[in-house]
């Protein structure tokens, strides 16, 4: 699989010719790593972020391209901005697993061509203060955005999800779906703010939000089979946060690290 590893202001890449990658590394401490990725043909890509604090990414997906992006972050404080530009008939799946402590993320999707679809999934362990803003602009008719976020809070962590869907007048037949869930294990103050800015009637829009605990009855059931409380929580967290980033071991090991 195509892979980009961004570590410590260095970039390693192993990429085939249908993906163009250009980048600027940081010149100073205050600088931001910038990466531009053009996806020209159907492709999969994995990006791993390690020990990095600021980064801007731009990804352009060409017409009629099917693109799967898998992301894993392991860092202390991360400020990240992603812009996704989707041309007509492109279909993009993004799966992200975040194990950075503090997180400030802004992800903007521009659905520029007809029939473009984004299926965006972000799962995060909120161990520090985290805020994620996700915005989808439906700039063409027949475009679809499916935005799914999940977080489990731990230690002093907290999370705010702001999810915005924009559909302007005369852009018809769009689907705008948002689903955010927070398992608030540490009783932190968390927020989910779904915002639907829709000027057009001919749209299917919906949002769902949940902030709460695992169900007591589920925990009781698992424990009734001899599974101790901590292990029951481990199983439930694993079930909740599992996401396909083409590396199940990383997810299992991360969850075992925090929930033994």
């Amino acid at each position: 699989m195509n892979e980009i590893i961004i570590k410590d202001n260095k970039i390693e890449k192993n990429i085939d010719k249908n993906i163009n990658v250009t980048y600027n590394l940081k010149d100073s401490e205050y600088d931001v790593v910038k990466i531009k990725i053009d996806v020209l043909k159907d492709n999969d890509l994995r990006i791993v972020y390690e020990d990095i604090d600021k980064i801007d990414i731009e990804i352009n997906i060409s017409e009629n391209v099917l693109f799967n992006l898998y992301e894993y972050r392991k860092t202390d404080k991360l400020k990240i901005q992603n812009k996704y530009y989707l041309e007509a008939d492109s279909n993009v799946v993004i799966n992200k697993f975040n194990d950075s402590n503090e997180l400030k993320e802004l992800d903007i999707t521009y659905l520029n061509g007809q029939n473009a679809t984004i299926n965006y999934n972000l799962n995060t362990i909120s161990k520090g203060k985290q805020r994620v803003d996700i915005i989808a602009y439906h700039n063409s008719s027949n475009t679809n955005s499916y935005i799914n976020n999940k977080s489990v809070t731990i230690d002093d962590g907290s999370i705010v999800f702001n999810v915005t869907g924009n559909v302007y007048n005369n852009i018809v037949d769009c689907n705008v779906h948002q689903d955010s869930k927070i398992i608030n294990l540490n009783d932190a103050k968390c927020e989910i703010n779904p915002i639907l800015l829709i000027d057009e009637n001919d749209v299917e829009a919906e949002h769902a939000a949940y902030i709460g605990k695992f169900k007591e009855s589920d925990i009781f059931y698992l424990m009734s089979r001899g599974i101790p409380y901590d292990k029951a929580i481990n199983l439930l967290v694993r079930g909740f946060l599992y996401i396909d980033i083409k590396d199940d071991d990383v997810i299992n090991n991360t969850i075992d690290k925090y929930w033994r």
Binding site: F220, M223, G226, P228, L236, R238
Partner: protein, 262 residues
């Protein structure tokens, strides 16, 4: 007590296979409402006890209190397992003693597959002795003998299962965990006639093999065609009002819960 007992073709002598669950004068409330009051029952290995009673009388409450559900408050009385007071024991500890509850309404659990769940439970129970190959073999044969869909092993626990499939899944879990004390809370509800027969026969077979004790909670006599109780208890208003044998079931059919015991 010294007993002779044969298992897997071997003769065992000792107390290993004898267990008892003793409930003394139990008084239980939930949300300030008293549900069980003056409840007494003793169950020994090899015995099957049926509890029958009208809806809302506290049968499920009893089963969950035995398992240690902390939503219920034990106001008075004791629960002993092999002379150990378990009132304050956690749910998982009780399970590891060998107490198993087949739930009246088993929950469905997002993201956790049956296979992961049962592997975790069995590996905790067996510790170092846990053998994955043996586990896989056993789960496959049990799924087959219960006429379950093989795919269910890899689906999330009870997710999208029909009522009957959930009940069979409870029996699958029982077979895998090999409890010595089995509580079946309306295992017959939601089962079609074929499944009722399969489940009934599988439970009886398990009992014959493991010499476990069974507490069978049911509304209807039809399950008793397959699982033969040694004792039948009629429960009303949070306590046992009458105990007998199978003849009580007939009496119940004739007179109904209203008049029995009068």
């Amino acid at each position: 007590m010294l007993t002779f007992y044969s298992k897997n073709g071997k003769i065992y002598i000792g107390v290993d296979f004898m267990h008892s669950l003793i409930i003394k004068n139990l008084k239980v409330s939930i949300n300030e409402k008293i549900i069980l009051d003056g409840f007494n029952l003793t169950i020994n290995s090899g015995e099957t006890h049926a509890i029958m009673g009208p809806n809302g009388t506290g049968k499920s409450t009893l089963s969950k209190v035995i398992m240690g559900d902390s939503n219920y408050k034990v106001l008075d009385g004791e629960i002993y397992f092999d002379d150990i007071l378990i009132n304050d024991m956690s749910v998982d500890e009780r399970a590891r003693l060998g107490i198993f509850l087949a739930f009246q309404t088993p929950p469905s659990i997002d993201g956790v597959t049956n296979a992961d769940f049962l592997r975790t439970a069995c590996s905790i129970k067996d510790g170092k002795q846990f053998n994955l190959m043996k586990f896989i073999k056993e789960i496959n044969t049990t799924v087959e003998s219960l006429n379950m869909d093989k795919e269910m092993i890899h689906r999330n626990v009870n997710k999208g299962f029909s009522g009957g499939e959930r009940k069979k899944n409870e029996i699958l879990e029982m077979y895998m965990l090999k409890p010595n004390t089995v509580i079946l809370d309306e295992i017959d509800s939601g089962l079609d006639i074929d499944s009722l027969k399969t489940v009934g026969n599988q439970v009886q077979e398990y009992k014959d093999k493991e010499n476990c004790s069974i507490l069978l909670i049911t509304h209807y006599q039809r399950l008793l065609d397959y699982i033969k109780p040694d004792f039948v208890h009629i429960m009303k208003n949070g306590k046992i009002i009458k105990t007998g044998g199978l003849e009580l079931v007939k009496e119940l059919e004739l007179s109904g819960y209203e008049n029995i015991g009068k």
